[in-house]
Amino acid sequence: MKILVAVKRVIDYSIKVHVKSDGSGIDFSGVKMSINPFDEIAIEEAVRLKEKGIASEIVAVSIGEKTCQESLRTALALGADRAIHVETSFETQPLCVAKALKALVERENPRLVILGKQAIDDDCNQTGQMLAALLSWPQGTFVSRLNVKEDEIEVVREIDGGLETLKMSLPAVVTTDLRLNEPRYATLPNIMKAKQKPFEILGEDVLGIDLKPHLKTLCVAEPPKRQAGIKVTTVDELIDKLQNEAKVI
């Protein structure tokens, strides 16, 4: 079974981002970039399926500027077999990414596509659902457990009220939640080996898609800052403040 994994390059989760003073966007200069953490989980899950003999080939794909090839190299070092970069200078938005992924699915014919549930930069949480819609495939979103059986998968989904289990026939789209697995680190030998793995670069024109964004960002601002309050030294003082100053109890 072939698996396609979507990988987005984002500002590392540990970085506190800064808004440019002219309000035009986020300041990217000199900032550490990484694979979206949910996509690391997606790669890990695919690799585990391969180790179990369920997956035969893992294709990692990324849509964006040239720099996202670095993230694809990491994906290869983590165990993907092949990488495809769809190069564009547009800011990638979920609907366009979903269209690009659909075109790649039609080219590659995977049985399973695994994406992150959310990119931690745009926090959209849309792409997997959109891809499933465009393909007319079932979707297992926010998945914390995945079981593949023959021509069917069972997913446990993290939802507001607890957990939901669904069964769906393949092909299908799955999006990962944090507790699906703990991703491994790339080892040095694997990073070296990754350099030899097949790497394809495609333009929008090759796929016959239009990646022009539908949404326009007018401005980006810092959120209002919360004032740090005071430290109290005793529980009595805390209760007094909550009762008489904040009046919340």
Partner: protein, 316 residues
């Protein structure tokens, strides 16, 4: 040009998030139609039909809709949606799961997690875990939005009843999808996103058993329980207790963070709370930067003392 609001419910009651979306919907100044989909929805349809500014309620009933599976809902919505200019749902796991599927079939972008509606085509949404706020517009004819429920007051019930109309169920195009089961976390306490007080525990609690300290205080205050990702990952509490960028967003009147360091991903889910209390033994923990009242010390002595003394306060 009207607005379609997709209501979230459990067949018994309308999810409170829906009423926040209703308030957001009013900002568009167009007629608001609500759609209720499910397997047996008379009761919830009645409930929403009495809310102010609801002009019409569509009801769609079918056995296939009993578990709110997007694949089973989307063909009906797609047909109905074409007559609307705005489509809204809450950015709960229900809305997040469903709405992008609809937007893609309409070939329009979705605007996720809107916290402010400036006009009919100008929306503010948090990005980067709320560390920046983007103002966006859409070039699409239909605007599809999920709305962050904590950013809007809940709409009020009115006295007039909106007309209810039946809409036919359009069968799904996808087969081979079955619901197996749902494991619900305890419903004894107030729901996290809706509670006026939240007591949250983090890795500092050290074990599932110690979380009883959090439960004691929460039960005394009639509060909901929340947690950091670290606490959930360690198995102290179920997944749906997670507060943060990738968990739930809460904005209670009082948020008490115990043994939580205050990573940006956690702050994203609670920094809009009215009053924040932090209990942490590390005076430099980032949580203190957003806390109105901080207390530095060992939670294992402070928490029991707080609970005991609150008990006396609550009695008076």
């Amino acid at each position: 040009m009207s607005l379609l609001l997709i209501a979230e419910h459990d067949h018994e009651t309308i999810a409170p998030a829906t009423f926040a979306v209703l308030t957001a919907a009013e900002k568009f100044s167009v007629p608001i139609h609500v759609i209720i989909m499910g397997s047996s929805c008379q009761k919830v349809t009645e409930e929403i039909s009495f809310y102010e500014n609801v002009e019409k309620v569509w009801i769609v009933e079918n056995q296939a809709l009993s578990h709110f599976i997007p694949e089973n809902m989307v063909n009906t919505l797609l047909e109905l949606a074409k007559g609307y200019k705005f489509i809204l749902a809450p950015s709960t796991t229900f809305g997040k799961n469903l709405l992008p599927r609809l937007a893609a079939l309409l070939d329009v972008a979705q605007i996720s997690d809107v916290i402010e509606i400036q006009d009919q085509n100008k929306f503010v949404r948090p990005i980067y875990a709320g560390n920046a706020l983007a103002t966006v517009t859409s070039e699409d004819a239909i605007k599809v939005l999920t709305v962050r429920p904590t950013a809007f007051e809940k709409a009020k019930k009115g006295s007039l009843k909106a007309p209810i109309e039946l809409y036919p169920f359009v069968p799904p195009s996808i087969r081979g999808l079955t619901f197996v089961k749902k494991e619900e976390s305890s419903a004894e306490r107030p729901e996290l996103t809706n509670a006026s007080i939240v007591v949250s525990g983090g890795r500092g609690l050290q074990s599932k058993d110690n979380f009883a300290l959090i439960e004691d205080l929460a039960d005394l205050l009639g509060a909901a329980i929340g947690a950091s990702r670290a606490a959930v990952d360690a198995g102290f509490v179920p997944n749906d207790y997670q507060v943060g960028q990738t968990g739930k967003v809460v904005a209670p009147t009082l948020y008490i963070a115990v043994g939580i360091s205050g990573a940006i991903q956690h702050l994203a889910g609670m920094k809009e709370s009215k009053v924040i209390v932090a209990i942490n033994k590390d005076p430099d923990a980032p949580i203190f930067q957003v806390a109105d009242y901080g207390i530095v010390g060992d939670l294992f002595t402070i928490l029991p003392e707080l609970t005991a003394k609150m008990k006396t306060v609550m009695k008076n």
